[in-house]
């Protein structure tokens, strides 16, 4: 295109141009311009679209991998960090592919083609241009590096300010209680003064970039004019060629600078990619054995713990557990907070594997069952259940393939949830969570019980699921739950003697060991944790009854 401009100017300069020729040149200019714009669009459209396709696939892969990783992974990784990897790291990788490809090809094409055309047109002016642009690019790189460093320092200070705010707002009771508002504000002022200083330092370097570049561009222009101008006056160069060069000057400035940007982008992309790759390469600790798939039939629902110990880090959390639970019986588990009750139940569902010893179902080591078979047998309800922000129907039928309302209604009825559901605006279609109805602790627990029994599992695990429910409701639920529990093997964790007494056997766990085992009647006669618990709860009842 600059070539056509040059021809027009040369023609005008030497007065050799005819109207027809001018029309022709203008038409050519328009045609190349249109083609150029078309390509300018494609060069953006294609790599960016591609990068989004890659991002999509990679994100899917990562999530799929995450669904396979087990508790020990989630215990060490914070959800926030994982979120970052699935969102901002993904974005950085995508940008480094998309923008890298876009700017990379653009820079390459522009630089190579413009250099060749320029060199053919006039080698001396080309040399002059590069002598301005190369130092400019180098200086630009250096300043940019400085900008990044200052920017990072500023960013760190920004998060310091926001942490200070956060701390002040969440510790407001303490601040007010000790009347420290004025001192706190004073500290905040200081922090913000420092922030201004750091911001201005960053701005001082950043704001210099644009004027500096523009000035270099001016410098290039005038150098071409002076150097080329002498030759025009000598008659060895035309104004048209000169103009052509100022055009190249204009075309070349961005690609060169974009180069530095692309470099840093690729670098950041690499860092993010490594972080994502680390997760993709993490093997789940709870994996199925190859031979496990050999047994498709469900085993019988008796459970046995054989010399089971579990250590996490240096601490032994369960030691030497030996326990037989015949199919169809109910076992009650109790003990102080943190004694290992929940861990014991989690071993059955292979949320973790014991450090030594085996857990058997129907006489088969559960590690020899496929995870789908094993977990398909189990209905699990936890003390602090996770419910999903969907309809109640979805939540109750969560573990059932193609649930029908019959099963859902039945499960809700057993967990004494129906009365509550009647009061919800959309009954079973009510959305749970922030955007819908926020359930009380007791309602959440009862929903989780419904979810577990809706599967009609062979093994039912109820981990302290009635702790947030008052005694009367608890009694009502237990009455309905009784027949359901009687049909299957049930592990039942509780702190309340009133519910524990329903079980066939009660096990007391203290400090990771089984210290007492027997029926309710046996245990209240033994001195120990269970008898103490019983006395205390009777006193409490008396206190509440006196209201």
């Amino acid at each position: 295109m600059p070539y056509f401009v040059r021809l027009v100017i040369e023609g005008l300069e030497t007065h050799t141009l005819t109207a027809g020729q001018l029309w022709k040149l203008i038409a050519l200019f328009a045609a190349t311009g249109t083609i150029g714009i078309f390509f300018s669009r494609l060069i953006r459209y294609i790599p960016l679209r591609l990068s989004h396709r890659i991002e999509y696939t990679l994100r899917n892969d990562l999530f799929e991998h995450l669904t396979r990783l087990d508790q020990s992974f989630y215990r060490t990784e914070r959800t926030g960090d994982l979120m970052t990897k699935l969102s901002s790291d993904m974005n950085i990788i995508r940008d480094s592919i998309g923008q890298g490809l876009l700017q990379g090809t653009r820079t390459l094409i522009t630089m190579v083609s413009a250099s060749i055309v320029m060199f053919i047109a006039d080698p001396r002016l080309t040399g002059l241009m590069f002598s301005v642009f190369i130092p400019m690019t180098i200086i630009f790189f250096l300043v940019l590096k400085l900008v990044r460093r200052y920017q990072q320092a500023m960013q760190e200070h920004v998060s310091e300010v926001s942490n200070f705010c956060h701390e002040s707002f969440s510790g407001i009771r303490c601040i007010k209680g000790f009347a420290m508002e004025r001192r706190r504000t004073g500290q905040f002022e200081e922090l913000n003064h420092e922030l201004i200083r750091k911001t201005m330092r960053m701005q001082a370097s950043r704001q210099s970039l644009w004027p500096f570049m523009a000035f270099c561009f001016n410098l290039g222009t005038i150098l071409i004019f002076i150097s080329g101008g002498r030759r025009i006056i000598d008659g060895t160069l035309t104004i048209g060629t000169l103009t052509q060069f100022t055009y190249y000057l204009f075309y070349m400035r961005w690609p060169l600078l974009a180069l530095s940007w692309v470099m840093s982008m690729l670098q950041r992309g690499k860092v993010s990619w490594i972080r994502v790759r680390d997760i993709l390469e993490t093997e789940p600790a709870i994996a199925e054995r190859e031979e496990s798939i050999s047994d498709p039939s469900k085993p019988n629902a008796s459970i046995a713990f054989r010399k089971v110990s579990l250590s996490i880090g240096p601490r032994e959390l369960l030691s030497d557990i030996d326990l037989e639970i015949p199919a169809g019986t109910t076992i009650g588990i109790t003990g102080p907070t943190g004694s290992g009750k929940t861990l014991l139940t989690s071993l059955v569902a292979r949320l973790q594997d014991p450090t030594s010893g085996t857990v058997e179902i129907g006489g088969i080591d559960i590690r020899n069952l496929s995870l789908a078979t094993l977990r398909g047998m189990i209905g699990f309800a936890a003390q602090e259940p996770v419910l999903f922000s969907r309809t109640l129907e979805h939540n109750i039928g969560f573990g059932v393939e193609n649930p029908d309302m019959g099963i859902i209604g039945w499960a809700a009825e057993i967990a004494h949830l129906q009365g509550d559901i009647e009061t919800f605006p959309d009954r079973y279609q009510t959305i749970l969570g922030e955007r819908g109805v926020t359930l009380s602790g007791g309602q959440r627990q009862r929903t989780s019980i419904s979810r577990a029994i809706a599967r009609r599992p062979d093994i039912l695990i109820l981990d302290d699921v009635l702790s947030a429910v008052d005694t009367q409701t608890e009694a009502a639920i237990m009455k309905k739950l009784q027949p359901v529990m009687a049909e299957r093997t049930t592990l039942f964790v509780s702190h309340r003697v009133s519910t524990l007494r329903y079980s066939d056997t009660i096990v007391v766990i203290e400090n990771g060991r089984i210290t007492q085992q027997g029926t309710h009647d046996e245990l209240i006669r033994q001195p120990g944790y269970y008898a103490e618990l019983n006395t205390m709860q009777q006193l409490q009842e008396k206190l509440e009854g006196g209201k």
């Binding site: 005819t18 001018l22 953006r44 669904t67 707002f169 001016n218 002498r230």
Partner: protein
Amino acid sequence: MNKGKRLLAYSRPYWRSLTASLVMILGMTLALNYLPLLLRRITDECFEKTDTAAAERIALLIRLGMIYLLYAGLGHLVRYVQSMLTAWIGQKIIYDLRLDVFRKVLRMHQGFFDKTAVGTLMSRATSDIDRLQHFVTEGVVGSIADLAMLIGIMGYMLYMSPLLSFSIFTTLPFLFAVMLYVNIRLRNANRDIRDRQSRLNALVQEDLTGMTTIQLFNREAYAMVEFDDRNSHLRSAYFDEVRWFSLYFPAIEAGQTIAVLITLAVGGFAILNGSEAVTIGTFIAFLAYVQNFFHPLGSLSDKAGAFQVALASTERIFSLLDSEEAIIDPEEPLAPDRIAGAIAFNKVWFAYNESHWVIRNLSFSVEPGQSLAVVGATGAGKSTIINLIGRFYDVQQGAVTIDSTDVRQFAKHDLRARLGYVFQDPFIFTSSVADNIGLNNPGISRNDIIRAARTVNAHDFIDAMPEGYDTVLNERGNGLSLGQKQLLVMARTLAQDPELLFVLDEATASVDTATEMLIQDALGKLMANRTSIVIAHRLSTIRHADRILVMRQGELVDQGTHDELMARDGYYRQLYELLLHSPDQ
């Protein structure tokens, strides 16, 4: 516009700098846009005037070249200074505003914090303010600079050749409209992306927290389907963005091409027809102007959209600044030198939420220097008593008095400076151990801090920390056990030397017996010689109190010493026996 005016008021203290900035914009516009004019002179006077001697023309070329460089250098320097000045003004305005927000939040009453999430307050103090800062510096002043640039270029163009200028200008409204359109579509696409990204994030957040549940119920495949659904939604929003983004720069390029085309056509034919108005120099100058023309045009269309976002932030910030403070200091607060320490509740009724009374018709008094223990089941209204004395909330009926003066007659700040609190969950500031005890109170020396720590048995473990009293703790109190944190907080309270003391004493299962002994000992020392009210769960604190208040559902059931109450064999005795059997004792 009221909000605009109010925002403008924040810039008033800096009007001098703002004026200077505007003058600089003017100077810069004139200088920088003069440059193509110089190119015209070079072309016309040095290259085209073949009748003048070559040497003379070269001398003129060099002289004009120097002037060009000088103008360019000056212009860009002024531009740099101006942008720095603008950035500084923006920072200052935001500084004032942020401080106003911070002060306002600290002034708000406790009830406000019960209803407002910390996250919401954070986004006012950070992201909303940032958005505003962006708008003030880059938006307002940037638009003025862009506009000035545009007008400057147009002025020079008109001056050189009205014919060429008008023919180029006719395309402007059309071009601006196209760019604005693309910009709006781009912004919509970006909004879609944000929406869908946050929908995806919400799903991922929930699935990651509930991963165990998903795995237990064999729902991995289903979770994957849902994820894929939202992920592909996000992708299609991105595709939409790519469609418009890939049009944006080509649109600018198209504008430039059209402008050059017009210059070539109109200018070319004018010269061909022998018109005097257009020279080759004009031609070259125009080609230079056209290149600079589209940058300010693009950024103007960009800022037009950002305006609305900033307006929403402004509105949120001002509505926070305007929220009503419920607990207000009296016009002429009382400030006695020293409080004797007699606390009395006089027929007090109080509810956090209307109609649900937490305290019902409560009357009691504490003599100076006495210690009072309040006992009762959870929800009996015990801790509310403490909240009312410190004016975290005001009573609905009746009065709370200190030395027979209604607490509402004190200034909150002065009142609370005399009170000391030990809360059940110790709050640790991100700061050194010493600052956590002294709370940056200038009246508390390092010696006072160490003495306080010694008294409450905290000195030993502090001394054992890597940098002793200068060890920096974070908000979660890194490395400290709960018991140690409680001791630290007691040292803090003791160092402040309060005239009245309130303790929320929650017996905690996770504190080991040795630390528990230290805490009980420290509590005793803290309460010595001070009027103190303890919301008690530890048997030892209850037994040692001068008097015990027994509460039940917001009402006073009984009061007296431990022995008296035990002798009565009532509600207190039942409570006491329950505590005796609780595993935490």
